[in-house]
Subunit: 276 residues, 4 copies
C-alpha cells in the first residue's frame, strides 16, 4: 500500500535525515521524494511517497515528536477524494470533469453538482450525479449561502471545484474551506481581473489568451495560483471567438490543477503554491 | 521585382475588385493577398504582395483616384529597412539582433546603437555598428532628448528598436516616431506594468512568465501589441532566475515583432495591430 | 446571408481580379479574403467569405466561364454540416465532441456514432445520438466494411471523424470518402507511426508528446496534416501516464482540426493542407 | 559553500535515510533534494544540493562504505565547468552561447571553438575565444579525428557542445566522451532523422517544427534526449523559412540542455535522461 507524507515546517538541519530514518526504521520504502526550501521564508517542504505497512497514528506521532513543534505533518493514502463541483451555465468544464470521472481518469468521487441555475441539471444527471440548484432570485444572499453550506455539509468533501461558477463567493463562505476551493479563472492572472476578461483582452488587442487555476481566498482572483496556460490568437478573433477558444484552455487548466490537488502534490505557503 | 501594397481604408463595396483589377490591368501578378475587415469599426485592411514592373507613382495615383478619399495607401519595395537600436546594459536582445544582422537573417541595416550607458559599446563595436552613449548624469532631460534626436536624424531610419532600453521615452520624443518604435516588454502585457515585473510576478506566484513586443505610444506599456509568448516556470525560480529565464523569451519575441514590421505585415488601428 | 467561395486552380494572372470583379458586379461584399500561391506547383488557392444575395448556380457558372478550365470552384453556405463519429473504447474524444455539440459550439450535426465495441453506447445515447456497433468478432472483414458503409449511407454526411477509432480502415472503404475522414493520431506525426506510440515514445525517452489531426488516405498515418500540438513531459511519466496526459492534447487537436474543416478553411493539395 | 551530490544506484531500502543521515552527521544542510526510482529497472537516482563544510574524499568514502557496491557517487562543487564548442557555418547557436558567456549567464568557461570551416573564426575571435579550424579537405578522416582530439586534450573540458556541427563524429571519437557531448538536433527526435530535416518536414506538410538537445552516442541522433521544444508553422513557410524559424528554437533548446548539464541536473540511464 502506498502513502504520501506531506511536511511543511520551519527549516532546521537534518529534517530529511530525521524523516527518512523514521521511515527506514519501519521498513518503509521511499519511491519518490521531493523537497524544497523557501530561502526567503526559511521554510521547508517535503513530499514523500512510500510503500510498506505502518499504522498512520504511530508514524505521525513519531514524526511529531522528532520534528519542529510548528511542523505541519499529514499522511495521505490513495483513497479517492471526494469533490463537489459548482457551476453556472457553461458546460465545458463541468462536462470535461464528468467525462474524466466516467472513464476513471479522475481520481475522485464527484458527490454533487451545485449551481445557481437549472441549465446544467440535465448534463449532470445524465452522468448520475446529484444536482442542486440554489438560485439567487428567490433566495436572499444569506439564504443562498446557508443553503449552499447545508448541501455541502451533507457530504464529506475534500475540494470544491468552481467549474465556471460565475458568482463571487462571500468571505464567510470561503472561510469554511481554506485551500479547498479550486477555481478556474478565464485569464492568465493577474491580467484582466474581474468581469468579462475576454472583452478586456479583445479591447487591449492581446495576441494570446490564457487560463489560471487557483485556490480561492477571500479576495477574488487573488488566491494562490496552481497552474496556467495560454493559447495564441490573432486579430481575426472577436471577443466571442476568444471566449470560445478560451474554453479549451480553461477546461484543461482546471483539470490539471484539480489533478495536482487530488494527488496531494500542492503545498500552499505565503499565498503561493509549491507543487511537487 | 516584388512589391507590397498596403491599404487601410473605410470599408466600401468592391475594394478588392478595384485594387485587383488595377494590378491586373498593369499585368502585375498577385502572389499573396490578405484582407481583413474590422466589423466593429467598418474598416478595411489589405496587404498584397505582387511581382511585375510598374512605376510606383503611377500605381499609387491610380489607386488613390479609385479608392475612398480617406484610404491610406502605401507601396513597399524589398529594399532593406534601416533601424537604430536603443539599449541600456543587458546584452541579450542587442546581441541577438547583431547576430541576426551578421548572418543576413535580419532584413535590415542596423545604422547605430544608442544607449544611456557605456556597457554595450564593446559588443556593438565588435560587430562594427556605431555606438552612441547619451548618458543621463551629465545631460539634463531636455539635453538628453535633444541629443538622442540629433543622432537619430543623422540616419534615415524606419524603426527604432528598444532592446531592453530601461528608460521611459518622453511623449515629445515619441511623437516623432508614430508606430516606428518597437519595444520588448518583459512581461505578458497587460500584467505587471511598470518596474521590475519579474519581482511582481514572483511575489504573485505565477506559473509562467512572458514577453510582449509592442509599438510605443505616449503611455508606457500601452501601445499596440505585436506579438507575445510565454515560458512555464515553477516554485523553484527566484525572481532573479525568472528574469534570467525571461531573457530567452524576450529576445525571441522582440526579434519576431521586428521581423513582422520589417516585412511590412503590420497595420496599426484603434491601438491594436492587424498582422498578415 | 454569408457564403464562402473556395477556388483551387492552376495559377494564372488576374485570378483575384476576375473573382473579385464578378462578386462586385453582383453587389456582394467581401468580408474576408485569403489567398495563397504554391510557388513549387504554381497553384492558386483562394477562400472568400462574402455577404449578399446571389443564386449559387449563377455565380458558379459565371466563375467557371471566367476561370481556368481545371479550376475547382465550390460555394459553401453557413448551414450546419453533418458528421458521423467513429470510436472504439476511449471516451475522451467522443465525449468532448458530444459536449461541444450539446453546447452549440460545434457547428455540425452529429448524425450517428459507430464503433466496433459496445463500450461507448451509453455515453453516446446519453446525448441522444444513435449508436451503431459493428463488431469485428461476428463480422468478417468484408461484412464489417459493408455494414459500416450501409450505416453511413443512411445519412448524408460531410465528414467522418475518427475519435480514437483503433482499427485501420481498408483502402476500399477510404476511397469512398476522399478528404472527408479526419483522424486524430496520438503522436506528432511522422514520429511513432503505428501501434502504441506512447510506449514507443517512453522507450525513446522523449520530453514531449503530441497529437496530430489529419485526413486519412490509403496509407495509415500518411494523410495530409491539419493541425498538431504537444505537451511537455518528463522522466517521471510511465507510458501509461504519458497516454493519460496525451488524451488532453488529442481531444483538443481533434476538435481544432474538425472546426477548421467545418468552417471550410482547408484546401488539400499535394498531400498537404493549406489552411486559411 | 554549496555542493551537489549525485547518486545513481540499484534501489535498496533506506537509501535516502542513509545518505541524509551521513550529511546530517557532518552538519551539512540539505537545500534541495530530488529523488526518482525507475521502477522498470529498479534503479535509484538522487541529487542533493547542500551547504556546509566537508572534505570531499571523506564524504565520498563514507557514502561508498554505506551504499550499494554498484552505486555511482559523485560530488560537484560550484566551480565553472569548461566546455569546447564545435560548429560549422551557421552562427546562431555559437553566437547565442558566446553572448551568454559574455554576460556571465553561462556558468562555464568556453575554452575553444573548433570547426571544419573558417566561417565562424571572426565571430569567435570577436569574443576572444581561440578558434581552431580542422578542415576535411586537406585532412584524411583519421587525421581529422586525431587533430580534433589533440586540440581537445590541450584543455580539460567537461562537455563538448555541438552547436550545429554538421559532420558525423565517428564512434572512435565519441567513445572518448561518454555523456559529455551535447548536440542540438534540428528536429523533434525521433522524427526526421538524418540530413535536411526541414526539407523532410516541408515535404510532409507538418504544422510544427522542433529541436532536440541530446547526448551523442555512437548512433547518430539516437542518444539520450535532454530537452525538446517546438514552434508552430503553417502552409506559407517554404523549407528555407522553416529552417530560418527553426534557428530560434534550436538555439534556445541547446542553451537549455547545456544549462541543465552545467548545473549537474542530468542522470543518464538506459539511453534516457532523468532531469532534476
Amino acid at each position: 500500500m502506498k502513502k504520501t507524507l506531506l511536511i511543511s515546517s520551519p527549516d532546521t538541519q537534518g529534517l530529511v535525515a530525521k524523516v527518512a530514518s523514521i521511515l527506514y526504521s519501519h521498513h518503509l520504502n521511499i519511491e519518490k521524494n521531493d523537497e524544497h526550501v523557501d530561502l526567503e521564508h526559511n521554510h521547508f517542504f517535503m513530499r514523500t511517497k512510500f510503500s510498506g505497512e505502518i499504522e498512520d497514528s504511530l508514524l505521525l506521532n513519531e514524526l511529531k515528536a522528532s520534528l519542529h513543534p510548528q511542523a505541519q505533518i499529514s499522511l495521505k493514502n490513495e483513497e479517492k477524494k471526494s469533490i463537489i463541483i459548482l457551476c453556472t451555465k457553461e458546460n465545458h468544464c463541468l462536462g470535461d470533469l464528468l467525462l474524466r470521472h466516467q472513464s476513471g481518469e479522475l481520481n475522485a468521487e464527484i458527490k454533487a453538482v451545485i449551481s445557481n441555475y437549472e441549465d446544467l441539471r440535465d448534463l449532470s444527471e445524465k452522468f448520475e450525479i446529484p444536482y442542486f440548484c440554489v438560485d439567487t432570485l428567490t433566495n436572499s444572499r444569506e439564504e443562498h449561502e446557508q443553503k449552499m453550506l447545508e448541501i455541502i455539509q451533507r457530504f464529506e468533501v475534500d475540494y470544491l471545484v468552481l467549474a465556471k461558477y460565475m458568482r463571487i463567493l462571500p468571505p464567510s463562505f470561503v472561510s469554511h474551506f481554506q485551500n479547498q476551493i479550486i477555481n478556474i479563472h478565464h485569464s492568465f492572472l493577474p491580467a484582466f481581473i474581474g468581469a468579462n476578461p475576454y472583452k478586456q483582452a479583445y479591447d487591449r488587442g492581446v495576441k494570446m489568451i490564457g487560463a489560471t487555476s487557483h485556490f480561492v481566498n477571500n479576495d477574488l482572483d487573488e488566491g494562490p495560483i496552481i497552474t496556467q496556460d495560454i493559447i495564441h490568437i490573432n486579430h481575426t478573433y472577436s471577443w466571442q471567438e476568444m471566449q470560445k477558444a478560451g474554453r479549451d484552455v480553461e477546461k484543461i487548466v482546471l483539470a490539471r490543477g484539480l489533478k495536482l490537488a487530488l494527488e496531494d502534490r500542492i503545498f500552499v505557503f505565503a499565498n503561493k503554491t509549491i507543487i511537487f
